[in-house]
Each structure stands twice: as structure tokens, then as C-alpha cells.
Amino acid sequence: MANSMTGNIFEIQKMSTEDGPGLRTTVFFKKCNLRCAWCHNPESFYPEPSIQWFSVRCIGCGTCLKVCPDHAIQMKNDGIHIDRQLCSQCGICVENCPGTALRKLGEEISLDDLYKIVEKDAAYYLNSKNGGITVSGGEAALQPEFTAKFLQKCKENGFHTALDTCGFVSKKNLEKIIPFVDLILYDLKEMDPTKHKEFTSQSNEIILENAIWILNKIKGTKKKMWVRTPLIPEFTATKENIQEIGKFIVEKLENKIDRWDILAFNNLAKDKYHRMDLPYPCESLELFTSEEMDKFLQIAKETGVKNVRWTGLTQK
């Protein structure tokens, strides 16, 4: 039966290899209640579509200036500037930009349309071990009805399903989605509540509570949980933090999670912040070396958690 329910998403990444087992398609949802300083998807912050200008694609034709009904676009020596106060995100400039230098990130997509897109790669999911669909963001659990229905449809067709969540959502929302996921990718970023609030704008009590709640919920089922910890220099990448998270996993999560990934900081989001005229709090941070990541991994392993791995971008 056709389903015209819509979800607010900003990207679909095919042949995704980093968001769960096997080959996957990751769907990135708009909106998030956290504001992590290192967030590499700042386009997910707000529910409205975000218009970005990609300088390398711009031919400087000035079409956008002419078509903008809000007179929000200016061309200066260093390129296109969008007055975010004036811009109503109508997208007319995007539709008319010949070089696709202006792009609107964020669209309402119907469940059927989204499913049609992800279904095209069924052969790759089904030929890999537990390949399938990951919903990520932003925070997919902030659009619980759509996410649940979408994942249900994926599951019915034999695809493995994963929810990538920051955990800062209501149990009511999670309750709707969990029946249709095989795997929960759960972020534990910082154990110190004060620091957590400082780094992400929210304290971590709800997140920790939800982690325990989810674990108890999936106990005895085939569903699995992976914890993921982004290691950000000057933020979360401290020995104490890793040890505390490890302790939490061993004690409060009864060491029953399937895997713990520690993720090396990457600076790939730098351009995104610039394009959105947002300050990038990690502007001056450098990538870790693989030796440093190996050391963090060792610390994590020493906490007693089983199956810890590190992944991500490092210096050569």
C-alpha cells in the first residue's frame, strides 16, 4: 500500500561501510537536540533546509542574485554571500543555479520514495553479512513515526536495520523504533555531566539512563548494541573519559554490548561550517596519528570491554 508519510532528511549515502556491519545505505535525518562542538553534520541542526554555496562549482554568472525573491544574495570579491536573516530557504536560487554551486540540504521525502531509493542496492545488502540500512542524522529518533515505518518496511524485505542515535531522545520515541531495528549504534561521548553539557549543550543523565534502558529492553533478543565514542582532541579524548566510559559499559551495561568503536576525530566538516556561515569550534584541531589511536585503543581495552576497535581518519 502506498505510503505518503514524509520524513525530513538531508542525505542518502550509498555503499556506506562505516555505519554498521556489511554494505549499507545510510539515511541522514534532519534535527538534533544536541549541539556537539565537533558535529560533522551541522546541516542537521535545524529542521529547515539549509542553503549552501560550493565555491568550486560556481561560475560566477550571478543568476542567483537575479532570481532571489528575498534579495538575500550578494556577490563579493570572495564569492557568494547569503544573508541568513533575509533568506527564506525557498530554494529558487538552487533550482536556477547552472553549476549546482548552490544546494539545498534537506528535503521532505515520502516513505515510498525513500524506500525505492534504498531498495536499489538490495543485492549488496543481501550479499554481505548483515548488510542493510542505517538511519542516522541528526537524530533519526526525533522523527519516530516515519523512522519506525521506514525501518519496518526495510526489515520486512530482509534488510538488516540499524539506528544510529545520540541517545538524547525520549523513551517514547525509542519505544516506537526499537521493534524494527537489529542494531543500535549508541553514542557515549563524555562521562562527566558538566563537560558533557559544555561540549554538547546538554547533560548526559538521560543518555546514560537510556543506554541502560535499551540494553535491558533488548536483552534476550537477537538485537545488538554497539557503543561509539568520538575521540576529539581537547574535548573527549582523555584517558579518564575512555576509562569512565569503559567502566560504565562493564558495570552498568553489564559488558553485554557487542562492540565498542572509538572514532578518530576528522576535520572533514570544516567546509560545511564555512558554507553555513557558522563558526567551527574544531577549526584548529589536528588529526590524531594512528599511533595515538592505538594508545587510546589500549586504554579502552584495559577497561575490560570486549571487542573494542578504532576507526576513522588519521594523519599519514
Binding site: 549515502q13 550509498k14 555503499m15 561501510t17 562505516e18 556489511g22 554494505l23 562549482r57 561560475i59 554568472c61 543568476t63 547552472p98 553549476g99 549546482t100 536499489k120 542496492d121 543485492a123 549488496y124 550479499n127 554481505s128 553479512k129 548488510g131
Partner: protein, 838 residues
């Protein structure tokens, strides 16, 4: 002999280490190093021209090279070009028997061939090798008398003029070239050449006297004589082995040489009794094909060698343990060495596109009649040899994958891909390929046993000559003809200088109407359909001239002895003898064409953003000079749907285009009774002269820029990742039918290239995921995939510091080439190619 100097430390500027050979036995290392000494070697296998001594005698068969536009200049304009003249000047005279000139042409050619191979070319054993068969790069006289030679020259000029005209007007190229076949090697290894000899004799004796006196008799007598040449040559090599054995003080080597002599007294005449004999037999009968065609091996392929040699490998290595696996690998190592010496042909010319990709292809693994996997221990041993010898160009391996391919094979393949910059093999996909073979009429119960020639061209083994690279039309031309009501300008700037009169467009295509007056997309589409069909017809007319010319004047009875159908019919392999006969039309610039049509449909007809007249004006100016043209180009490039993104809007039209042009090929036959069939290989034409001759196209491409490569999308147009482009490739080949059965419009196969960043394969977990991608490709993709694992910064470094990257292999349209040996433009293109960075 000196060995190559091994560089232990990288030069300071060079940042990356490239794959190196490893674990070679001293013998294999010696042979590999010896090969790479190149011009510094004492021994070599350069072209050796031979003449009958007649004044106008010629050796060089220029029609072999009509598909290599880069060298047209050397073929000559009105008379003999420099290649032909210089070979004639250098040619050594062969003493001919008294009755030579009274014999038929096929017989003369075989008599001449035999004289050269037995009496003129020395039989030498090189270093510690285990297989005899040294020099084979000949340039043989065409064996024509003065009167015949005059007529030959006249017809040759006619063929040349027709293909030059076709080429210079941007249609592509076409010509009857040699190689590109899998002779029935398996039969001869297992039954001996004596079986062929007996069969030919029996056939001949059944002829009526009238038939014996006619062309059937001429051909059969030539085949009978040809069938004895391998035995006579093997005997001479056996004598040389014995001589060396006598002289040798090394007891081990003495025994080896004695065994080599014994082998050569048995094969290729008798069936091979050991693995060693089988490989010896295979090499000798193979090199003689190269010698007879005077064509250094491009596309002359071995077929499913891991199947053909399996029984004897199993007997000697596994069951009876007569030799160990390491020794078997040394035998194969000698084979690898010889295959590469084909390149000595033009060794002084240097490494260029012509000498970098011959493609003596070896097909490995693949399915059996019931879809079961046929990989065996020999498959894995050969893969080990490839891995240890890499980087090396020949023989080019092609690994067949299918739904039941074992994990063990995929693990090895993915590991080998990880280690090398360009995968040291092509992957061929059985289900899609077999669907294509069935589409061209091969019975289902035979089609599973197909194999590949040249790069990735699918044919049957031992009975099929499918002329797999003979016609290479530039499909993008059809949209230009449509826009210009069939008029075509001479697009070769050099020729314009020579013939200024031709600068004005002339009517070469059909008059399909003035495009500016078309009211609807349907009108434009109908006109395009007529033009593309015309283009196929014109390609075939051009091609047929050289096809008929070659069939009449350059028979190859030795090769005919090894292709089923020729003896029973009494007809040469070049004249319609094989059981399975095709000539392949390899469409070039497919995505450029598709994207051009998609852009016209969207902007001119659907959205009416601009008119045909405005588009043409902008194209004529290469989209330069006016702001509106720059904007238009940007729209065409960026805002039209593009093939290669698994986008239905684009791919449905792309599939229609594919079906129309490919089906049209089946409507034609050659005068020699070969059926035309479609494929997509596009060798280097997309980056070479065809691209240079093609003015701006409606997809926003400027004049002279690369066309799209084979079945791959336009460079940079595929932005949805590897799975999306894979799905698109499968879709345009026909996808699957209602019952889930594979459809393949291109029986020859289609070359698909993907470049991945090394980070995709950085750990075992990701390697598992890459295996899943390959299994997904089996379901959704095309027939043939070549994988480059390249880091753009590494290639840029290789451009600046070429000396450090001499062995860096990259894949360019189905053939391996050394990166530093290809032109700057192609290098830039590879660097610019979208990196699928995970």
C-alpha cells in the same frame, strides 16, 4: 647476462612504494629481470622481416593497424608509408623452391612461413628457461607475384582511403585486424597436432578432383603442410636442447635440458603426457600463430587454461607427485617470460599505447554447465604466479566470477587488488556474459564455456572468430549528424591543412531534417535513430572493404588448422571458415551520446530553456566567448540527468539507446559470412584521436576533450558512488527479465572501470565488505570490471617523478599500461577520474 639493478631505497622525492615482484625462484627472477633489461639484452625478439626477393614485395599488413589511428601517418597517404618501406628495406631474402610461384597463395604463404621458422630464425634456449620457443616476431612476405602485388597495392589503397575518410570525419575507425581469437589449443594439447594433420588429410582425400584443383584443395594442402610445422620446429629445438645438455657441466641443468629435448620430441605432435609437456605444447603452437600472422599477439588468447591443463597438473603435482608445485610454477614462469617477449617487436620504439597492452589473455575460474564453480588448485597456483610476477603485462589474466564463486577465490582476489595499484587481472561476470552469448545465438548448453580474448571480449573457445576490436564507431557522432542534418566537417586538423577544400561540411550522413525545425523531442529522437542506424551501416561498409581484402589476399592456414570449422569446410579462418563467425562493433563514447540526448531533451524540449539553434551556436564556439554560452555549458554539464547514477530518468533513455544501436548491428553480415554483433570496449579511442576529432557535444563537453570510456559514465558524472554506477551499467545492458533472468545487449561484453581509494581496503572487515560489493556486482552489474586502487596524490607524484614509478601499473580500458608510459593527457584523466573515497 647482467640482471637488473634493484633499487632498495626510494629516491628522496618519491613518496610511495609500488608493488614489487616477490618470492620468485632464482630461475623465475632471472627470466623476469632478463625481460626487463629490454634493449640492453643480447638476445631479443624484435621484428624480423623476410622477402621473396621481388622488387615490390611487401611485409607490413597495414590493414592490421587501421584500428590504431595514432599511426595512420606512418601508413602513408598515397603510396607506401614509412613502416612498410623500412621493413621492406631491411627484409632478408628467403630462398624459394623452384615451383614456388606455381603454387596457390595459401600454399605459398605456408611454404614461406615454414622456411623462415625452420631455416631463417635460429632456435635458441634462453638462460635457465624450461620451455623452448624463442623468436617469433616475424614480418613475412605477402608472397605475391608482381601482377598480384600491383592489384594488392591498388586494393590496399582503396581500403586505406575509405577508412581514412571515415576516421577523419570523426566516425571512428575500422579495420580487419589479426589476433583476437582463442585457437583450439586444448584440443591440440590433449590430442596432438597429428590429429589435426590426420583430419585435414582425411578431409582432403574426400574432395573430388575438381575440389582438389580449386580453392578448397589449395587451402587444405596448405593446412596439411602447416600442421607439420610445429613438429619440425620442435625437433630443431630438441636438437638445440641436446647440444646445450652436452655442453653443460651442471648436472641439474643437463638433466633439465635432456628432459626438454624429450618433451619436444613428443609435443606438440603427440598428446602431452605431463604438465611440463602440456605447457611446452601450448607455448609452441601459440607463438607460431603470432609468427604466421606477423602480429605480435594482441588478443591472441589462451582460453580457460586452468581447465585445459588441470588433468595433467593434478596427475603430476597432486596425485603422482612427479614434480612439486614450485617446479610447476617455474614452468609457468618460463611461459610468462615468453609471453612478454612479444613486446620486443617494437622494443626500440619505446613504451607507448601500442606496446603496452597486447592482451594474450588467460581466463581463470568460472562456472561449469550447471552453474557450479570450476576453480581448482591450478587456478590458485596460476594466481600465485601472477601475484609473484606482478607487475607484469602478459599474459593478461581474466578471472570469471559468478554466483557460486567460492569465498577462497574472492579472498585471494581482494588481497591481490589491495596489494597492487591496478588489479593485476580483469574480473568477468559469468551470468551477464553468458546471457550475451545466448543472445547472439550460442546454445545455452555451450555458452557456459566461453572465455575472453584481448581485454574482456567474450567469445567461445577453439571455434569462434569474433573480430572483437575491428569496428570502433564513435557513437557520439550520431547526435552531431542529427543536429546538422547529416552534414559532417572534416575534423582532422592535419588533413584540413593538406586538403583545405574539405573544410566545408559535406553531406556524409542521412538527411533527417533541419534540427532547428523539429517541434518535439519525438521528432529529434526519430531523426537520431535514423542517423545512428546510418552510422552502423556506414561503419560496416567501410569495414567490409578491409575484411574482404584480407580474406582474399592474406590467408592464414596455420591458424586455420587450429580453429574448428576451417578444415571441415575447407575455408580459411579469415574467409568464413570458423564454426562461429562474428565481427564486433565496439561502440565508443556511449555515455557522451546518452548525456547529450538527455540534455537536449531536458533543455530544448521539456523546459524550452534554449533552442537547437542557440545550442549549436554555443557548441560551435566551444561554449566560450559569451556569458550565456558559459551558463549554458554549466547547465548542460550539471543540471541534466546523467547516466551512471542509478537514476531511472537517465537510465531508461540510456537503455533505449543501447537497445537501438546494438540491435542494429545484428542486421548485417560481411561478404565473408561473418555476422556483426555489438560490444563496448573503446580501447584508447575515447581518450585518443576519436576524442580529438569530436567537436563540442550537447552534454557540455568541449571539442577535443575525452569522450566517455566504453560503458563507463562520463568522467565525473557519476556522483552516487560505486553501487549506483554498477546498477546503471547492469540496467543499460538490459537488467533482468520478468523471471529474474539476466539480459545482455552486448554479447562481446562491456568494459567498466572503477577507481577506488586504498582506504576502502585498509582492514579485513572492509575487505569482507568489498567482497560483498563484488557479489552484488554479479547480480546487478555488467560483464567486465577493472579496478584501480589509486591515490590521486600518488599519481601526481608519479607524473613528477616518473623514474620511481616505472613499474606502476594502471588499468586503462581493459588493458594494463604502465602509468609513466602513457601520455600526459591520459595521466591527467586518470588523476581527475572520480575517486570513490570511502
Amino acid at each position: 647476462m647482467v640482471t637488473t639493478e634493484k633499487k632498495d631505497s626510494l629516491s628522496e622525492q618519491q613518496k610511495y612504494k609500488i608493488a614489487e615482484p616477490h618470492d620468485l625462484s632464482p630461475r623465475s627472477k632471472w627470466l623476469r629481470d632478463c625481460y626487463f633489461l629490454g634493449v640492453k639484452r643480447e638476445w631479443n625478439n624484435e621484428y624480423m622481416p623476410f622477402t621473396t626477393g621481388l622488387l615490390e614485395d611487401r611485409q607490413f599488413a597495414e590493414s592490421d593497424y587501421y584500428i590504431v589511428p595514432e599511426i595512420y601517418f606512418y601508413l602513408g597517404i598515397k603510396s607506401r608509408g614509412i613502416f612498410s618501406s623500412s621493413l621492406s628495406l631491411m627484409a632478408e631474402e628467403v630462398e624459394l623452391p623452384k615451383d614456388f610461384w606455381s603454387k596457390s597463395l595459401p600454399e605459398r604463404r605456408i611454404i614461406f612461413f615454414e622456411k623462415v621458422m625452420l631455416d631463417k630464425i635460429p632456435q635458441e634456449i634462453i638462460g635457465p628457461e624450461l620451455l623452448a620457443g624463442g623468436r617469433f616476431n616475424t614480418q613475412l612476405s605477402k608472397c605475391l607475384n608482381e601482377k598480384e602485388q600491383k592489384l594488392f597495392d591498388k586494393l590496399n589503397l582503396k581500403a586505406r582511403n575509405s577508412v581514412f575518410k571515415y576516421h577523419n570525419h570523426g566516425f571512428g575507425n575500422a579495420g580487419a585486424t589479426s589476433g583476437h581469437i582463442i585457437p583450439d589449443y586444448e584440443y591440440i594439447i590433449k590430442n596432438g597436432f597429428k590429429s589435426v594433420y590426420n583430419e585435414a588429410l582425411e578431409r582432403y582425400n574426400k574432395f573430388s578432383q575438381k575440389e582438389k584443383n580449386g580453392p578448397l584443395g589449395d587451402e587444405l594442402r596448405a593446412i596439411i603442410q602447416a600442421s607439420e610445422i610445429p613438429r619440425k620446429l620442435a625437433k630443431k629445438y630438441a636438437e638445440e636442447c641436446k647440444r646445450l645438455a652436452n655442453d653443460s657441466n651442471d648436472e641439474t641443468r643437463k638433466q633439465e635440458l635432456e628432459q626438454m629435448a624429450k618433451n619436444l620430441e613428443i609435443v606438440p605432435w603427440e598428446p602431452a603426457q605431463t604438465f611440463w609437456q602440456a605447457v611446452q605444447s601450448l607455448w609452441l603452437i601459440h607463438m607460431l600463430v603470432i609468427a604466421e600472422e606477423s602480429y605480435p599477439g594482441p588478443g591472441l588468447s589462451f582460453g580457460r587454461t586452468d581447465q585445459h591443463l588441470w588433468d595433467l597438473y593434478k596427475k603430476d603435482v597432486i596425485d603422482e607427485k612427479n614434480i612439486n608445485k614450485d617446479f610447476a610454477k617455474e614452468i609457468l614462469g618460463s611461459f610468462w617470460f615468453h609471453c612478454n617477449t612479444a613486446y620486443d617487436a617494437q622494443m626500440r620504439v619505446g613504451n607507448n599505447g601500442i606496446t603496452a597492452g597486447f592482451g594474450q589473455l588467460m581466463t581463470l575460474s568460472g562456472c561449469g554447465p550447471n552453474g557450479e564453480d570450476l576453480s581448482n588448485d591450478l587456478t590458485y597456483t596460476i594466481l600465485e604466479v601472477i601475484d609473484e610476477w606482478s607487475p607484469i603485462l602478459e599474459p593478461k589474466p581474466n578471472v570469471r566470477l559468478h554466483r557460486n564463486s567460492p569465498d577462497k577465490l574472492l579472498d585471494i582476489i581482494v588481497d591481490m587488488i589491495t596489494k597492487s595499484q591496478g588489479a593485476p587481472f580483469l574480473l568477468n561476470f559469468d551470468e551477464r556474459s553468458i546471457a550475451g552469448m545466448i543472445r547472439e545465438g550460442i546454445p545455452k548448453e555451450d555458452a557456459w564455456d566461453y572465455a575472453c580474448v584481448g581485454c574482456l571480449e567474450n567469445t567461445m573457445q577453439g571455434n569462434d572468430r569474433s573480430g572483437t576490436v575491428n569496428c570502433n564507431p564513435n557513437l557520439a557522432k550520431s547526435v552531431l549528424l542529427t543536429l546538422n542534418n547529416g552534414k559532417s566537417a572534416n575534423q582532422n586538423q592535419n588533413v584540413i591543412m593538406l586538403h583545405p577544400k574539405e573544410k566545408k561540411p559535406i553531406q556524409m550522413g542521412l538527411k533527417t531534417g533541419i534540427a532547428e525545425e523539429f517541434k518535439t523531442w519525438e521528432e529529434f529522437w526519430d531523426a537520431w535513430v535514423k542517423q545512428v542506424k546510418f552510422q552502423i551501416k556506414y561503419t560496416i561498409e567501410t569495414y567490409n572493404i578491409s575484411e574482404e581484402f584480407r580474406a582474399n589476399w592474406m590467408p592464414t592456414p596455420y591458424l586455420s588448422a587450429m580453429v574448428k570449422g576451417c578444415i571441415s569446410q575447407g575455408i580459411d579462418v579469415r574467409n568464413g571458415g570458423p564454426e562461429i563467425r562474428f565481427i564486433t562493433i565496439e561502440g565508443v563514447g556511449y555515455a557522451t551520446l546518452v548525456d547529450s540526448l538527455l540534455a537536449i531533451k531536458k533543455f530544448v524540449y521539456d523546459e524550452k530553456k534554449f533552442t537547437i539553434a542557440e545550442l549549436k551556436e554555443a557548441m560551435e564556439n566551444d561554449f566560450k566567448g559569451k556569458q550565456e554560452w558559459v551558463v549554458m555549458q554549466s547547465l548542460l554539464k550539471n543540471r541534466a540527468p546523467k547516466y551512471g547514477n542509478d537514476n531511472d530518468k537517465a537510465d531508461i533513455l540510456a537503455q533505449q539507446v543501447m537497445e537501438i544501436w546494438s540491435q542494429e548491428c545484428f542486421n548485417y553480415k560481411t561478404p565473408t559470412n561473418f555476422q556483426f554483433r555489438p560490444g563496448m570496449l573503446s580501447w584508447n579511442y575515447w581518450a585518443g584521436e576519436d576524442a580529438g576529432f569530436t567537436p563540442a557535444t550537447p552534454d557540455g563537453r568541449i571539442g577535443g576533450q575525452f569522450l566517455s570510456n566504453a560503458i563507463s559514465p562520463t568522467n565525473g558524472a557519476d556522483i552516487q558512488g560505486p553501487t549506483a554506477v554498477t546498477n546503471s551499467v547492469g540496467t543499460v545492458l538490459g537488467g533482468k527479465d520478468e523471471d529474474g533472468g539476466y539480459v545482455n545487449y552486448l554479447p562481446n561484453g562491456a568494459s567498466h572501470t572503477l577507481t577506488f581509494n586504498p582506504s576502502l581496503l585498509r582492514n579485513p572487515e572492509l575487505k569482507e565488505k568489498f567482497k560483498a560489493y563484488l557479489r552484488g556486482y554479479i547480480e546487478n552489474g555488467g560483464t567486465s570490471l577493472q579496478i584501480n586502487i589509486l591515490d590521486a596524490s600518488m599519481l601526481k607524484d608519479a607524473q613528477i617523478n616518473p623514474e620511481g614509478y616505472q613499474n606502476l601499473l594502471v588499468r586503462v580500458t581493459g588493458y594494463n599500461a604502465y602509468f609513466v608510459s602513457i601520455g600526459k593527457e591520459l595521466q591527467d584523466e586518470i588523476i581527475a577520474r572520480e575517486m570513490h573515497n570511502m
